[in-house]
């Protein structure tokens, strides 16, 4: 029967149910991912940010919340500006390459 409306999906993040397997892998291969304080220096200098929504800050946040990051990564130009400015000294370029490696090999 068509009621003319249906249940709305919830956007709430349930931390007990998110899939953190990729984040856990990166904690092994690129351990300085843990040091991120979400200051946004990387997003501020990112060349791709204003055209695509790419941002290392959002990448790390999405990894920590189990959300998908593949689409965002396709816009990264690997210029390295984010690595230059990160105040916590995270090797963001290696992090991005590690995530790309995961998606290309799906291993």
């Amino acid at each position: 029967m068509d009621f003319g409306f249906s249940l709305s999906p919830s956007s709430a993040i349930d931390l007990d149910k998110v899939d953190l397997s990729l984040y856990r892998r990166l904690e092994q291969t690129a351990p300085d991912i843990r040091n991120c304080i979400a200051c946004g220096s990387c997003s501020a200098t990112c060349m791709a940010a204003s055209y695509s929504g790419m941002s290392v800050r959002k990448l790390i946040l999405n990894l920590q919340r189990g959300a998908d990051v593949e689409k965002m990564l396709s816009c990264c130009m690997l210029c390295g500006k984010c690595t230059m400015v990160c105040p916590r000294g995270i090797n963001t370029r290696k992090l991005i390459l590690d995530v790309c490696r995961y998606y290309s090999k799906k291993v």
Partner: protein
């Protein structure tokens, strides 16, 4: 005869001030309303940033102040200004004469039960930072289970909160939360620990190293967003709802223990003492110093000095420094008058 200084409060500030006054050749008298010296720090386990044991500090302070006359479980009923000093009437009937009064009444921990939505005193697994320090020090607490799989810290409980009646930051709780998170992770290495913060205030020497270590070595998760409510699910675990402001979405997680970082408010007895010495209460609830940069230990009234958290939130090193400054100011005042 040595000139006497009455010190109201036997916590860190009072003890350090007494020890300095003894070294300067004066005769301090400590009036403490509880049954022990050392104030709040005596209940603490380890102090940041060196994680030195609080009991060592207190033992050292008590030892160096042992030459002072000490009244425990005593309160002051009345203080009268005399021509060249003050007289204090204690509630046990004694009357003491002194040349100067040092107010070291300290702070009071915000009553976490007032934030009803966090369920302190209602849900079985919600504790405060002070309860956790007691547990670290060896006290029993049935609210802390044997193997908590997920633990949460709520920053700013009773601080920076108009609804709680205290808009000020309590300064030390962010650092204490990180310290306690690290200590809990050492006790329960398999647990996930979440700190829910609005801002992180880590201003002092080596504080940022603590934060970096908490993230990098201990894997503690920091979630920027406020906890809105806490409830219990069918298994007795706490269901905590918060806002994840960085992703702009509501967030929920089930925890086995929630630690509320209760803030510092001025001790309720301080207003009574303030009226006795005719000191002013500032609009943040704490006592008003003569100014906030050069003369924090002075009250503006002759012979009345302040030290420690009675004028505003303080860390332990700041309290010790102020106690020494207040002792020296009192000494100079007394000798100047003589």
């Amino acid at each position: 005869m040595k000139e006497s200084v009455i010190i109201i409060g036997g916590g860190v500030a009072g003890l350090e001030a007494a020890s300095q006054l003894l070294a300067l050749g004066l005769s301090p008298v400590i009036i403490e309303r509880s049954d022990h010296l050392g104030g709040h720090v005596a209940e603490w386990y380890r102090l940041f940033p060196d994680l030195s044991p609080a009991q060592d500090l207190i033992a050292r302070l008590v030892d160096s102040a042992s030459g002072a006359r000490i009244y425990l479980e005593t309160e002051i009923s009345r203080i009268n200004a005399l021509k060249d000093g003050y007289s204090a009437t204690l509630n046990n009937g004694d009357v003491l004469f002194c040349k100067a009064v040092l107010v070291c009444t300290g702070f009071h921990l915000f009553e976490a039960a007032k934030k009803e939505e966090y369920g302190y005193g209602i849900y079985d697994r919600v504790i405060t930072n002070r309860d956790l320090e007691h547990w670290f020090g060896g006290a029993e607490d049935e609210r802390i289970t044997d193997n908590p799989k997920a633990i949460g810290f709520v920053h700013c409980v009773g601080s920076r909160d108009v609804k709680a009646g205290n808009t000020q930051c309590s300064k030390v709780c962010c650092m204490t939360a990180i310290k306690q998170a690290i200590e809990l992770k050492e006790k329960f290495p398999e647990s996930e620990i979440y700190c829910f913060y609005m801002d992180l205030r880590l201003f002092g020497k080596k504080y940022e190293d603590f934060y970096i270590s908490a993230q990098k070595d201990y894997g503690i998760h920091f979630i920027r967003g406020r906890v809105s409510e806490v409830s219990e699910d069918i298994e007795g675990r706490l269901l905590v709802k918060a806002e994840d402001t960085l992703s702009g979405k509501p967030l929920k997680v089930r925890l086995d223990l929630l630690v509320l970082m209760a803030g510092m408010v001025c001790h309720p007895q301080t207003a009574r003492i303030a009226s006795m010495v005719r000191a002013e209460v500032d609009d943040d609830g704490f006592l008003r110093s003569r100014d906030n940069i050069y003369s924090i230990v002075e009250s503006g009234r002759k012979g009345i000095f302040f030290a420690g958290a009675c004028t505003g939130t303080k860390t332990v090193p700041e309290t010790v420094a102020e106690a020494r400054a207040a002792a020296l100011s009192a000494y100079r005042y007394i000798k100047g008058n003589a």
